[in-house]
């Protein structure tokens, strides 16, 4: 039987989702020891007796990790448990030298929350509420390198090499309740949820949330049930989903794969699957262990976490504005068209543009600089806009200089280059490079007369009332004056010279 199309799948089947997101916290030290968490260190340079599980080592929890997890819980509208414990999740696998991972089992620190997401559909924006079952603390695993075999994958490998720098980095797992009722929008809702989580976490400043570096990872559980049925189907869990786009592709792909099996009267196997970035398909991984196989029990080396209610309320008071609300507010206050808003979010310049506006710059001008010239330079250098040596204060000053007529847009671009090259503030660059607008009408008139003589035919057309032709002449004058003239003044003088209004 041929693979069903997505439309055929949703005509017959109703998808049910469950999403598990793992977030690496950006604490300086690990969850239960004082090793550094920095990404990209040489192998096994960030380990100690605790994260290597040497005999007699005693884990002690990182207080900042607890604080960050409570902040996440509060931002996701969760209740915070007055008493919670760590548990050992036992499994035999070399990515954890202890042969267990310290996690939380039946006593997670945060529970019962929700996240509201909005997606654009043909029928307009639609809201979905994703309920959060729990947010719990655990530790990340080491990194394996599989040697031998054709593909560098675990299958067919002769042996594996382990780097434990990542073992023990604080990890927070955010688990949704089952998400029913998204129908054909399931893949988009899942993507919107992960995007919203990423924005919330970034706003809280508790994680780098870089999906490509693995500091934010999503496992997607998908099952199908016949439309109208109350009985849940068998789920598969897809791991290795490392971008927002992949979240959408992985779920869509799994829905089609499940439907094909079910349409053929076959069964979906409950298993872990690995998403393949290149093909957009998943391949089978290990059969999912049953929860009881993990033989969870409270970790006897760690004591209960009992955050004071007053501390929780203090943390609640520090929560930043919810990203989705902030975007709505900014869009309205600055009157930003949809496309431009999306461009700002995608280019990740919202914070920097807002900072520029708060320093007095016109929102449209601020946005145009950050999204245009400055983004272009950042792209050329292949770095993030925020890493360039230009600040919101610089751009605010630049916008003010242009508004005062002391710079033209073209000159301002030279100033931007100067600031980024480390020549100082915009006013310093203007002084050092001797950049100034030509305001001398005499010099402008000389250029206008020269251009009109060179392009006599065009000048004649303008004289005859064909105003659009004036653009070419103005451009030539600007070129003649090396962009240092004010285009509006040039136009005025040119039209006067040619006797038209």
């Amino acid at each position: 039987m041929a693979l069903p199309t997505y439309d055929e799948v949703i005509a017959k089947w109703d998808p049910v989702l469950g999403l598990e997101v793992h977030v690496e916290l950006n604490t300086a030290s690990k969850m239960f020891c004082s090793c550094a968490t920095e990404f990209g260190g040489a192998p096994n340079t960030q380990t100690c007796p605790v994260c290597l599980a040497l005999p007699g080592a005693l884990p002690v929890v990182n207080e900042k990790a607890i604080e960050s997890t409570i902040l996440i819980g509060l931002a996701l509208n969760c209740k915070i448990a007055p008493y919670s414990r760590f548990a050992r999740k036992n499994y035999f696998y070399p990515d954890m030298p202890k042969n267990f991972q310290i996690s939380q089992f039946d006593e997670p620190i945060c529970f019962d929350g929700y996240v509201d997401v909005e997606i654009d559909t043909e029928e307009g924006p639609k809201q979905f509420r994703i309920e959060v079952e729990r947010v719990h603390m655990e530790e990340d695993t080491g990194k394996s390198l599989h040697v031998g075999g054709a593909t560098g994958r675990i299958h067919g490998a002769d042996y594996s090499l382990l780097d434990y720098n990542r073992a023990g980095i604080p990890l927070v797992e955010i688990v949704t309740k089952i998400v029913p009722g998204t129908g054909k929008y399931a893949p988009e809702v899942a993507k919107a949820y992960v995007a919203e989580l990423r924005d919330i976490l970034r706003g809280l400043k508790v994680s780098d949330v870089k999906m490509e570096q693995g500091s934010l990872r999503c496992d997607a559980n998908v099952s199908l049930k016949p439309i109208g049925s109350d009985v849940l189907g068998t789920r598969s869990e897809t791991k290795n989903v490392n971008s927002l786009r992949s979240v959408e592709r992985a779920i869509r792909g799994e829905m089609i794969r499940h439907a094909e099996l079910l349409n053929d009267g076959k069964k979906v196997k409950q298993e872990t699957r690995h998403f393949q970035e290149d093909t957009g398909l998943t391949r089978s991984g290990r059969s999912k262990e049953q929860a009881e196989d993990y033989r969870y029990f409270p970790d006897p080396d760690l004591v209960p976490v009992t955050p004071a209610a007053s501390w929780i309320e203090e943390l609640r008071g520090t929560l930043p504005e919810r990203p989705s609300l902030r975007r709505k507010r900014i869009k309205e206050e600055w009157n930003v068209p949809d496309k431009e808003m999306e461009a700002m979010i995608n280019a990740d310049v919202l914070d920097i543009v807002e900072a520029t506006v708060l320093l007095g710059a016109d929102p449209t001008k601020a946005r145009t600089w950050w999204l245009g010239e400055i983004s272009r330079i950042a792209n050329d250098q292949n770095i993030a806009v925020a890493e360039l040596a230009i600040t919101p204060a610089d751009v605010a000053e630049l916008v003010a200089l242009v508004a005062k007529g002391e710079l033209t847009d073209k000159l301002a671009r030279q100033v931007v280059e100067g600031v980024i090259a480390g020549e100082g503030k915009p006013s310093d660059v203007v002084a050092k490079r001797g950049i100034k607008v030509v305001n001398d009408d005499g010099a402008l008139m000389a250029a206008i007369e020269k251009v009109c003589a060179e392009q006599a035919e065009t000048a004649e057309k303008v004289r005859g009332g064909h105003l659009p032709a004036a653009g070419a002449l103005i451009g030539a004058v600007m070129k003649e004056t090396k962009g240092q003239a004010d285009a509006a003044r040039v136009r005025e003088l040119l039209l006067g010279h040619l006797g038209v209004q």
Partner: protein, 99 residues
């Protein structure tokens, strides 16, 4: 008398990646039974007013500040490893992965 079947022990041994002979599986299943019986005696008591505990000391909220301290050198970290390569721990082929 509680008991653990031979298959239960085989499953536990598999989860812990411990290779056991048939004789050992049978022998251990009866020994596990004795251990479970001993633990079961606790359950016969009335513990309704006793809070479950996982730590001998009545301690809570023992935490450390988020401060980085020096780690082991990679040489020290790997000094007890039976095998190593490229500054990494070398482990035998990871089994139990279907397909």
């Amino acid at each position: 008398m509680s008991s653990l079947s031979r298959d239960d022990v085989a499953k536990l041994a598999g989860l812990a990646r411990i290779e056991m002979t048939e004789a050992e599986l049978v022998e251990l299943s009866s020994q596990f039974g004795l251990i479970l019986d001993a633990v079961a005696r606790v359950q016969e008591m009335d513990l309704s007013g006793v809070k479950a505990t996982s730590h001998p000391q009545p301690l809570e909220n023992i935490a450390r500040p988020d401060v980085v301290l020096p780690s082991l050198s990679p040489e020290d970290a790997l000094s007890g490893a039976p095998a190593q390569e490229e500054s990494r721990f070398r482990v035998p082929q990871i089994l139990g992965e279907a397909e």
